[in-house]
Subunit: 438 residues, 2 copies
């Protein structure tokens, strides 16, 4: 070939953010992945799936009334109706007034991507400046680039978590919202997991209403935090009930165990039905130009579960059993670290709930675990609680203990000046409550 | 609610481009849709699906080795390998040299969308000007807007079809390529259906090489035009064998009858393996920010069919039976119009092959069919040959006859001055060969 490639300048994107890939490539028999994206059973690497979902997956291909024709751009209407009801509640005034609707998307990320593209095109709170978006510090990198690619130029971070006291810092959150430019978008990732209580959310909503801020929610583990679907949707419903217009990107991967079938929904709540239809028509146009229409299998399964009371009941029971297991792992992990005498407070493991947890290790400790122990966490130090099972619990706690013991004082001091979320070592400076409570 | 919607200025997108929607809403028992996007059987509205695909759809949920974990961003490697081999040939030098690879996408449109986004970011043929893209007239609207949204500012049309003589106009095509800015991208939709022969493609490739033009293919009916998978891929393979770097967006919806499972592949052919990996890494980044990973069911089915000789053989036989049916419908349609004495030449119906056909009606005739006869075509006058079956053939031909008879001379003259693709009435000015041939 005589010529050079026209793509000579394309750089290699070396994204090392996927611990599962590193884990899979590691030949060590000791290896443990604590960075699975989804929920697992107590068996190593076995992805959790509710039995009811497995049953329906066997039934669907045998149903002669279903074909494989293209879906409409907005997807399966039975699915989107059920998804909207799930998040805002079946008796929501917004639903009764026909001003809340859904868009069936290719996974939760697909819903968020559409939201970013739509908002960039059509959300113009002021004529003078482009819209601002606020993203909480832990999501700033991953989510920020979606908005950057969509065309947002004013992307800012906010804080809702006190890294020293290990509690939500509602005051700082409120202050930052208070100082936000009027009409800014606030990205609220996993409201069910943020740790804000109803009173906190009421205050946040009041400031956001006053400053005319636009809420963009993302929810991926509804039901998996408290075991109660309604409770985990409380914040979103409070905003809807208080007449906010909002978008909410929902993912169904984790709560239905269907990661590879890519099922998401973008819930749109607006002022009236006519505005809803206009918004949906513009988003349909974006869909026609990208994935054309969503995929059907996952949406069919989920619509069946959500709309049939018996199947729904069975699914909720499966969710609750998983939530119970997650809490048990959190307790065992904390207890074992206490018995080993691992320095630091591990109270946050049980004070929080849900699938994911900032375990509270320093970057050097995360590196120690990977290099010395073949244990792989998310790069930000987060772990998936479900990745711990009865077979690896002892090895994981012993390894965490060794990692912490190997940490030098210098490591600990240097991290106190950073923005890193490493709660345990900040916590050390405070009177520890963990040992007395346990 | 005290305030107005922040989305007051969002316009309603009234896309009336989907004849199937209008058809479905029509209560008339006479109604016929000639604008299905996919292939149908001889039964009204029954979507064609190869029996082998139906069998595998029943088997997959029973396979205990398969779970529903997230796929990698680039999808199922067994699927992409098979897809690349399908289009460029299993013995392609590019494959042996590890410089051809695939990306598993959400349908064919997803592959094209990724191609547009990637090329906008990384294809810089000259430093002074943004890249130009050429799109053939019939696709200019639909495809043009994908590239516009991706950020292309220089979008131009080209012609390869002589509307008067009803043949490919290779000379005009070559002349337009000759005058294209160096390094321009040429979008080649459905090379299997364009009607260019090997000698035409050789000339086109020679000019494109000379002007360093970049080929971006889109192929959705490989095997459904000639009944031969290799023959329908001839043009793409010729470019690969002649050391072009190229992208090819493949859709599997029509050839596997799996529209709703959204299976596409973006084949990348470049100069060396290292460049391929760099390109794939950048596209993986785009995927991580949009649909995160592709869906698995369709990819699994197709990989199984393509890689197992017995299943592949059965699938090809199904494809060939469909191709035979399409040719038979084309012949019957032409013959019935001849018997009715419908003015104009209908020779193009059998001179062309494949699923779709420009039937050659004026916009007023298309409107007549919709309003008077409840028969719905694509807005550009194209029909899906598969939409015609033994039950509606007589009604469709009789209606076309009436539509043509109702056309005034004025209608015919006015259209001769437009760019519309209405071959029949231009053809009338030429000596008609159809009646003598039939």
């Amino acid at each position: 070939m005589e010529t050079l490639s026209v793509f000579l300048d394309v750089p290699l994107d070396t994204d090392t953010g996927v611990p599962l890939d590193v884990y899979r490539a590691d030949p060590s028999p000791q290896k443990v992945c604590l960075g699975h994206a989804g929920c697992l059973t107590d068996h190593v690497d076995e992805v959790w799936i509710p039995p009811v979902v497995q049953r329906i997956l066997l039934q669907i291909p045998q149903d002669p009334t279903l074909d494989h024709e293209y879906l409409p751009e907005l997807g399966i209407s039975g699915f989107t109706r059920a998804a909207v009801k799930l998040i805002i509640g079946k008796d929501s005034r917004a639903l009764l007034q026909n001003r809340a609707g859904g868009i069936h998307t290719v996974g939760g990320p697909g819903a968020l991507w559409l939201a970013a593209e739509f908002l960039h095109r059509w959300y113009k709170p002021t004529e003078s400046a482009p819209a601002t978006i606020y993203i909480a510090v832990p999501q700033l990198d991953d989510i920020g680039c979606i908005f950057e690619v969509a065309g947002f130029t004013d992307i800012r971070s906010y804080h809702y978590w006190d890294q020293i006291k290990l509690v939500v810092d509602t005051e700082r959150f409120l202050e930052e919202m208070q100082n936000a430019p009027e009409g800014a978008i606030v990205f609220l990732h996993a409201p069910e997991e943020m740790g804000l209580g109803p009173q906190d959310w009421e205050k946040v909503a009041a400031v956001m209403k006053k400053r005319r801020l636009f809420p963009l929610f993302e929810i991926a583990t509804q039901g998996l935090v408290s075991g109660n679907l309604d409770k985990d949707a409380w914040a979103v419903r409070y905003f809807v009930d208080n007449d906010f217009e909002l978008l909410c990107a929902q993912s169904f991967s984790k709560i239905f165990g269907l990661y590879d079938e890519r099922v998401g929904n973008l819930t749109v709540v607006t002022k009236d039905n006519e505005t809803l239809i206009r918004i949906q028509s513009q988003i349909a146009k974006l869909i026609a130009m990208s994935w054309f229409c969503p995929t059907s299998l996952g949406g069919r399964v989920i619509a069946m579960v959500l709309t049939c009371p018996a199947l729904r009941h069975e699914w909720i029971q499966s969710l609750q059993a998983l939530v119970k297991r997650i809490m048990l792992i959190r307790e065992k992990l904390k207890e074992k670290l206490r018995i080993l005498g691992t320095p630091g407070s591990w109270e946050h493991l049980t004070a929080q709930s849900g699938v994911f947890s900032f375990i509270g290790l320093l970057p050097s400790e995360v590196e120690f675990l990977a290099k010395q122990k073949h244990i792989y966490l998310f790069p930000n130090g987060q772990i998936n609680i479900c990745s711990i099972n009865s077979k690896n619990l002892d090895y994981v706690t012993q390894s965490i203990h060794e990692a912490v013991m190997a940490t030098t004082l210098q490591d600990r001091q240097s991290v106190e000046n950073t923005e890193k979320i490493c709660p345990r070592f900040h916590q050390q400076d405070l009177p520890s409550e963990s040992s007395s409570n346990n």
